[in-house]
């Protein structure tokens, strides 16, 4: 059937069908690279992830413990015994998660503010990716916790995860364009504004340096 081609004038007209322009190679590559960075950040890497995930888990448990401890000192009720089943008290549980979440969001807000400033000033902060990984671990724990049951909070944590994952993937020799793209992502999603809406004034943490 290949030997039954269209007549030459028709073939010539067919070759003009949607004649392609030059491909926008770099523009397409930027989007592909961005997606791939996120893929790599989301991919589990047990050997590297576990030590600081364990640290973050310990920090989250500590924050919960502090929250429970504070609550147990209020009011006439007897103090919560060590080893007591605190999960049996939904109100205490929710308050503790809220405290841990506010703490995390405050740290993230401070971190992203400093990151944005460093991008604008063109300085290369080597510790940015390390801090981002640490915050990312806590963020993932919170996403899996009752703190994420609130839809607005879950969306904020999800958007924050994307930004932190991108920064976590930055290498010291990453082109400045990569940092600029992340900064644009932060601006576009209104991530900082939303963080500031959630974090009460005065809750800005001491930990948050790049």
């Amino acid at each position: 059937m290949d030997d039954d081609p269209l007549d030459e004038p028709l073939r010539a007209a067919a070759r003009e069908y949607h004649r392609p322009p030059d491909p926008p190679r770099e523009a397409m590559w930027r989007e592909i690279e961005r997606a791939r960075r996120l893929d790599r950040a989301r991919r589990p890497a047990p050997r590297r992830w576990l030590p600081w995930a364990a640290g973050a888990a310990a920090a989250a448990v500590l924050a919960l413990g502090i929250g429970i401890g504070r609550l147990s000192q209020r009011g006439p009720q007897p103090p919560v015994a060590v080893g007591a089943d605190w999960s049996a008290s939904p109100r205490v549980n929710q308050t503790a998660y809220r405290l841990a979440t506010v703490e995390h969001l405050g740290q993230s807000e401070a971190f992203l503010t400093l990151f944005r400033t460093s991008v604008r000033s063109g300085s290369q902060e080597r510790l940015a990716s390390a801090t981002a990984r640490e915050l990312l671990a806590t963020n993932r724990l919170l996403l899996d916790s009752p703190a994420a049951q609130d839809r607005r909070m879950r969306l904020l944590l999800q958007d924050l995860e994307l930004v932190l994952a991108e920064i976590a993937q930055l290498t010291p020799d990453a082109p400045s364009g990569d940092r600029e793209l992340i900064r644009e992502g932060i601006e576009r999603g209104g991530v900082l504004t939303r963080l500031r809406t959630v974090v009460p004034p005065g809750a800005t943490p001491t930990r948050g340096a790049l």
Partner: protein
């Protein structure tokens, strides 16, 4: 460097190898996608999506066909899905706003051959159009088309035959000139 070595480097997490693979194939993939959609922005979106999917699924590539053919298969799948979604959206819009105009024959000056050809190709069913564009416009072989579309080479040949027949019929007045 052969495909196997490049694939190995990509699977090992070498970001430079991803760029090399992209550079080696992007022109061909974009050309094909553009021929199918005729719009730069959509062609850009579908090409990007095809490469992202390809990198994600690269571990599943068995090497039964050339890497370029496998990439084209993904690109065609992404493109046809995108076009179907677009078509459904347009049909909904037409259903709401322009239903009375459907089926009305437009009377206009006889357009030139290129325009008539474009309309005739646009009017082909998706299967015929894909095979016609891949074979007669972009120069793929029936074996490549069959692999990319997951059909037998004979099916590809039959669809090309029917596509050409429809185009001859639609452009009969030009054929007679």
């Amino acid at each position: 460097m052969d495909d196997r070595e490049l694939i190995g480097r990509v699977l090992a997490g070498d970001a430079r190898a991803e760029r090399e693979m992209y550079d080696a194939h992007v022109d061909r993939v974009f050309r094909l996608v553009y021929r199918m959609v005729g719009d730069t922005h959509r062609a850009q979106d579908y090409t990007q999506e095809a490469f992202i999917k390809a990198f994600r699924r690269l571990a599943d590539f068995r090497g039964d066909s050339a890497l370029s053919t496998w990439l084209c298969a993904i690109a065609i799948s992404v493109t046809l899905n995108g076009l179907r979604t677009l078509k459904r959206a347009r049909e909904r819009e037409v259903g709401l706003d322009e239903a009375p105009a459907l089926g009305a024959r437009t009377v206009e000056a006889d357009p030139d051959l290129k325009v008539r050809m474009r309309r005739a190709i646009d009017g082909l069913p998706d299967g015929y159009r894909t095979v016609f564009v891949m074979h007669d416009v972009e120069g793929y072989t029936h074996e490549e088309i069959a692999t990319a579309l997951g059909v037998q080479p004979g099916t590809s040949k039959a669809q090309l035959f029917r596509a050409r027949a429809r185009l001859r019929e639609a452009l009969a007045d030009f054929a007679r000139e």
